[in-house]
């Protein structure tokens, strides 16, 4: 898949502080998660992609177009759901979304139709004529999503979309994000503190720390990479562990027959079975240990804290 967002030495300074420091990387997932602790530069990156902040160095490209030079064109292709409450309180929901769609360039009649569709799509169809000021927090979040997608953007930027939502509303929001992603017509960038939200929706993750890229990885590939990490439960068998070690695997035992094995690249799973058969050991359970996003995140944070060797590439995991 072609890169949706590309960054080349992207550097943004606010006041005297460098907020984004020479970011390099290409984001190409259908749904991209933007993670990082508070103050890591997530919102600044989104605002830079929207053209609100001008980089002092490097550049950002969206769909191959440089942001600062094609601002108007790109903004027409982007839907933005801000983190904070942003609406006009004394306007009805559908009128507000129509207004925003018209500002994005849709003619009045089409904007009205799309506003109704967007409201039904996010599940607020029955409340669309109510004034936005009377909406609950969850409804306001959904209304913000409706205005972000009403004009049919190619890229939707969601800044903390599940902030303040109860579990049910959160699931509904995430389901909508997955639905939008699965249409294949639009790419989604989600900035969130919540690892589970990103894990449930995203296929690519960009982790920022102190304005630098701590990790940029494809979640699926990252998980696949850990297929070599096995968790076994075996009957006690003398010599089995030693034989597995002799194959070149790293092993750790945890009592009650529980063993963790790291398979080197040249070792096939069948060889483990063969060793077990030789030692007449029953393998009662075998699981691949899949890395959670939390593992990836913590690893990225830990790696980033260690001094970077000279010449190492920013963004490596």
């Amino acid at each position: 898949m072609a890169a949706i967002i590309e960054m080349q030495n992207l550097t943004v300074r606010l006041g005297n502080r460098i907020i984004l420091d020479r970011l390099n990387g290409a984001l190409s997932g259908h749904c991209i998660g933007l993670l990082g602790p508070n103050g890591s530069g997530k919102s600044t990156l989104i605002n830079t992609l929207l053209g609100f902040y001008e980089p002092i160095g490097g550049e950002a490209r969206i769909f191959g177009k440089e942001v600062q030079h094609h601002l108007r064109e790109l903004r027409a292709m982007i839907g933005f759901m801000p983190e904070s409450d942003a609406f006009i309180a004394d306007m009805s929901g559908v009128r507000f979304v129509r207004y925003m769609a018209e500002l994005s360039g849709l003619p009045g009649a089409e904007a009205m139709e799309r506003a109704h569709e967007a409201f039904f799509y996010v599940g607020l169809g029955e409340a669309r004529y109510r004034k936005l000021g009377t909406y609950s927090l969850g409804m306001k979040q959904l209304a913000k999503l409706a205005q972000a997608i009403a004009h049919g953007p190619r890229l939707v930027l969601l800044d903390e979309p599940t902030n303040g939502l109860d579990p049910e509303a959160r699931q509904r929001m995430l389901q909508l994000v997955r639905d939008i992603r699965d249409t294949g017509e639009v790419c989604v960038l989600i900035s969130s503190h919540l690892l589970r939200d990103v894990e449930e929706c995203c296929d690519q993750v960009l982790i920022l720390k102190e304005g630098r890229i701590a990790a940029l990885c494809n979640l699926e590939e990252e998980r696949k990479a850990n297929l070599k990490f096995l968790e076994l439960e075996v009957t006690q068998g003398n010599g089995f562990i030693d034989s597995v070690r002799a194959l070149g695997c790293e092993c750790a035992t945890f009592g009650a027959g529980r063993v963790r094995v790291v398979l080197p690249d040249n070792i096939d799973l069948r060889q483990i079975y063969r060793v077990a058969a030789q030692h007449e050991v029953q393998i009662r359970r075998m699981n691949y240990r899949r890395d959670t996003l939390e593992d990836i995140f913590l690893k990225a944070m830990a790696d980033h804290q260690q001094p970077t060797p000279a010449g190492s590439k920013n963004g490596g995991l």
Binding site: S43, N47, L50, F52, Y53, R72, E73, R75, A76, I78, F80, P82, E83, S84, D85, A86, F87, I88, A89, D90, Y99, M100, E102, L103, S104, G105, L106, P107, E110, R114, H116, E117, F120, Y121, G125, Q147, I149, H151, G152, R154, E160, N163, D179, I180, T183, E185, V186
Partner: protein, 295 residues
């Protein structure tokens, strides 16, 4: 009842021209203002002076009407002071209209943090300001230079004998003086609105700028024994500019209004243009700060 599919689909239809996006702001702005019945009623009231002047212009040229009303007016009555009087009346009504409707357009956006939503679309800060200002421009134009020019052409039609060619400069004066007044009032009402997010406070501040600043200016002039303190008297500055455009000179004995030519014309122009420039700078600066909202 329409049934809408619960699926997401991209939009592939036509788009409006990029230059016309600010008109969306104008349309919605005007609609919002006229949703208020008192505002609509006051706007209608603003046309009463126009009707009055229109009737008076007819009466000046109709001996039958003059006989009916028992008055006697010469055709020479309709001149620069006639049109200036009309514009001054409409200007005060327009000021109330702008102070009432202008700040609300901006304060709503600022109070609800929606500025970032506007500016994340293909709309620049200048276009946003232009769109909002155009609401007041349309509204104030409808009660100032448009009826002013209608009066001018009615007078030209009734007077005949090449009056229009001798007084064509009056049409330019009507248009230009209204343009300056509208620009100043619109920018000022929006600038105070961005500083005070509460509409009522913004309206009050607008009145304060027009009525308390002159007092402040007078105090400064009195204490420092200078006339330059009057530069803070914005209504008088506008009057000086209008007086100049309508070719009213201090030597004219019929000019009796106080405040006329209290400072030189160039100073009045400088004061008015400075106010416009400062307001525009403030608006631009505040908008830039509001592009990005922190929760």
């Amino acid at each position: 009842m329409a049934v809408y599919k619960r699926t997401y689909k991209a939009y592939r239809g036509p788009l409006t021209p990029a230059w016309s996006r600010f008109t969306v702001l104008s349309r919605y702005g005007l609609k919002n203002l006229f949703d208020s019945r008192p505002f609509t009623a006051f706007t209608v009231l603003c046309f009463v002076p126009f009707m009055g002047w229109l009737i008076a212009t007819y009466v000046v040229h109709s001996t039958t009407a003059q006989l009916a009303f028992g008055i006697r007016l010469g055709a020479g009555v309709v001149g620069n002071m006639w049109f200036l009087g009309f514009l001054v009346t409409e200007a005060w009504m327009g000021f109330i209209l702008a102070a009432w409707g202008g700040p609300g357009m901006i304060t709503k956006d600022f109070a609800n943090h929606s500025v970032q939503l506007y500016l994340s679309r293909p709309l620049s800060r200048v276009e946003y300001l232009f769109g909002k200002a155009s609401v007041l421009f349309v509204l104030l134009s409808c009660i100032s230079w448009v009826p002013g020019l209608i009066l001018f052409f009615v007078q030209a039609g009734l007077e005949g004998h090449g009056w229009i060619w001798d007084n064509l400069w009056l049409a330019g004066a009507i248009f230009l003086s209204c343009l300056i007044g509208i620009a100043m009032v619109s920018l000022l009402s929006m600038a105070v609105a961005v500083w005070v997010k509460w509409r009522i406070a913004a309206t009050a501040l607008m009145f304060a700028v027009f009525f308390l600043f002159p007092a402040l200016g007078a105090v400064i002039s009195l204490i420092l024994r200078t006339r330059w303190g009057h530069l803070l008297n914005f209504p008088v500055m506008i009057m000086i500019i209008w007086g100049h455009l309508f070719r009213i000179t201090p030597a004219r004995p019929d000019v009796t209004q106080p405040g006329f030519f209290i400072v030189p014309v160039w100073a009045a122009w400088a004061s008015a243009l400075s106010v416009c420039a400062i307001c525009f700078w403030l608006l631009h600066r505040k908008l830039k700060a509001r592009e990005v909202e922190r929760s």
